[in-house]
């Protein structure tokens, strides 16, 4: 019944922003779109939904052309059968929560009682039944977000477009809803697109990840691809890794003026090198032993997250290391202190740029 999404999209915003993206979403798969603020993620959703005119391009869902600037085809939003969570919810302020969720069902022709029953089911699943009679203005932020999710899921659309659907939820609810969402997505037959700033959410829920930066797609891959072989500094931040750009030759990568020993002796030419923060060891004296990379630097920032501590270091490579609080205690270092840093050659991931 439902099929994949094929889209090639160019959208211009008055301010000069320019979105240029090509997407293929398979039916039954979840694609997470990650990207910095202002990268164009919400714009992408609006364009797919037909709420923003394409400057150029083509959108087809399950073989049905929704938009084609060349052929002059344009299917209006109400006929696209999409389920959307808008970033700022856009709950109808004059309707009760129940009516908001039942709205799509009634708009698609269900009788009032059937629509209300469907809406109640969903509200129950999202722990919202007690708010059924409330107006959106009388909900907390997280409650409103869940209502928005319920509204999008209610209509059994051909495709799901979720713009940060869990951003306002508390840890407990988020964990629960991640499960609900994972189950829901698993049983949803069409393609689904999930926009999020939470890498854990993306890694957990997505089959494939698109990285969108400044209006262009900079990397596409499986969660592991992105995590282990990020190709931009944003993607590296997602993975929590250090990313270095250099030139490889004969078992070494030249990063700036610094040479980093790597295990892979066959790598040659421009490469991206990734180093996980936990693979970096810190020492107060020069380390001996096997690590082939070691240098002295100074501490620029220490961040204590409770169960782990991130230590940022100064040049030559400005790497961030992650250690445990006891380890920090044992080292006894503070910001500005001199420190030694060592990395095993095998811990430096290398991929061609």
């Amino acid at each position: 019944m439902s099929g994949g999404l094929d889209a090639r999209i160019t959208v211009l915003h008055p301010g000069g922003f320019h979105l240029d993206a090509e997407l293929r979403l398979e039916s039954g798969h979840t694609v997470a779109v990650l990207g910095p603020n202002g990268a164009g993620k919400s714009t992408l959703i609006a364009a797919l939904a037909g709420l923003l005119p394409l400057h150029e391009g083509r959108v087809a869902l399950g073989g049905r052309v929704l938009d084609d600037t060349e052929l002059g085809v344009w299917v209006p939003p109400e006929e696209r059968r999409l389920g959307i969570v808008h970033q700022d919810y856009l709950l109808f302020p004059t309707m009760s929560v129940l009516d908001n969720v039942a709205f799509g069902l009634r708009a698609r022709g269900r009788a009032r009682s059937a629509a209300n029953r469907g809406a109640r089911d969903l509200l129950a699943q999202l722990d919202l039944l007690q708010f059924a009679g409330r107006r959106p203005a009388d909900l907390s932020g997280g409650q409103a977000q869940r209502v928005a999710l319920a509204r999008a899921l209610a209509t059994e659309p051909d495709m799901l477009l979720l713009d940060e659907p869990l951003a306002a939820l508390d840890v407990t609810t988020r964990a629960r809803l991640r499960h609900v969402l994972a189950d829901r997505l698993a049983e949803f037959p069409g393609p689904r697109m999930l926009i999020t700033h939470d890498p854990a959410e993306a890694f957990l829920l997505a089959d494939q990840i698109y990285v969108l930066e400044d209006g262009a797609i900079t990397q596409v891959g499986s969660p592991d691809d992105i995590r282990l072989r990020p190709r931009t500094s944003y993607a590296a931040d997602l993975a929590g890794a250090n990313l270095l750009v250099g030139v490889a030759s004969a078992g070494e990568v030249l990063v700036g003026s610094h040479r980093l020993t790597i295990a892979d002796t066959s790598a040659q030419g421009p490469v991206l090198a990734t180093i996980h923060p936990r693979a970096i060891s810190l020492h107060v004296v020069e380390p001996g032993g096997s690590p082939r990379n070691a240098w002295a630097t100074s501490v620029t920032r220490i961040e204590n997250y409770g169960d782990r501590v991130r230590v940022q270091t100064a040049g030559p490579l400005e790497l961030t290391a992650e250690i445990t609080p006891p380890a920090l205690h044992a080292l006894g270092i503070a910001v500005g202190d001199r420190i030694w840093l060592s990395i095993k050659a095998t811990e430096v991931g290398v991929s061609a740029d």
């Binding site: 856009l90 004059t94 309707m95």
Partner: protein, 261 residues
């Protein structure tokens, strides 16, 4: 903010503004011949006029709703050539002296008018001197209020809600009915009340276009006008009736429709 009092200057100006509406009414009340009030209001002409007033004003409000609302929506939501001009034209009935407005209606919808002639040939309906004419005249004069109020409100509205509703599968008709109109609710109510009140008080265009026959086209304002020529006390009494009827309706409706918020 419920605990607060308005700042002095604004409260003062608001009081002066309120006095503006209250003082003339008190003046009117002071001149009311309370003793023969009952007699005057019991007259058959007065009853007829009140009934006609209610019918025409309600009729005009309905016409305004069915024609004015779509017009406001098109003006607010679509770009087309001549839109600015059309928007200006909508305000014309306010600007035209009522007598001229009535005359313009006669030129157009009268028996010899460009549209009135064909209309009579086709349907046998003669607008002037009939209640339909009174409704037409009242609609012409009162509809701008609905159009302007609603258009302003539509422009104030965040259109993304309408987009969200469309994406949920709602036709534009459903969007309008279930999302747009409720969201501009208070403005719509304001517009309808303005329209109704204006139609209720309508005088000039009606008398010029529809004439003034007791029991057929003589609404209360016309009866008041005629009485004013001779029997001033009766005129004041009937005006007070008009005031009371409208106050009752306005206060009740507003409280009901706005109470929910």
């Amino acid at each position: 903010m419920t605990r607060r009092r308005p700042p002095f200057v604004l409260a003062f100006l608001a009081c002066v503004g309120a006095a503006f509406f209250v003082a003339p009414l008190l003046g009117l009340v002071a001149r009311t011949p309370w003793s023969d009030l009952g007699e005057v209001l019991g007259r058959e002409v007065v009853g007829d006029a009140l009934r006609l007033s209610l019918v025409t004003s309600l009729g005009a409000t309905i016409v305004a709703l069915f024609l004015g609302l779509p017009l406001a929506w098109v003006l607010a939501r679509f770009e087309f050539r001549g839109r600015a001009l059309l928007r200006g034209l909508v305000l014309l009935p306010l600007v035209l002296p009522p007598v001229v407005g009535g005359a313009a209606l006669l030129f157009t919808f009268g028996r010899r008018g460009a549209l009135g002639g064909p209309l009579e040939d086709l349907t046998g309906l003669v607008l002037p001197f009939s209640i339909w004419g009174a409704i037409l005249a009242a609609s012409f004069v009162a509809m701008p209020f609905l159009v302007i109020t609603v258009e302003g409100a539509l422009r104030n509205l965040d259109q993304r809600y309408e987009g969200a509703a469309a994406s949920l599968g709602a036709s534009r008709w459903t969007v309008l009915r279930r999302v747009t109109l409720p969201m501009i609710g208070p403005s719509l109510v304001s517009g309808l009340l303005l329209t109704w009140a204006r139609a209720l008080g309508e005088f000039g265009a009606t008398i010029t276009f529809a004439g003034n026959l007791p029991g057929r086209t003589q609404t209360l304002p016309l009866a008041v006008f005629v009485a004013m020529e001779g029997d001033r006390d009766a005129a004041v009494a009937m005006s007070l009736l008009l005031v009371l009827v409208s106050l009752a309706v306005l206060v009740t409706l507003r409280n009901r429709w706005w109470g929910a918020r």
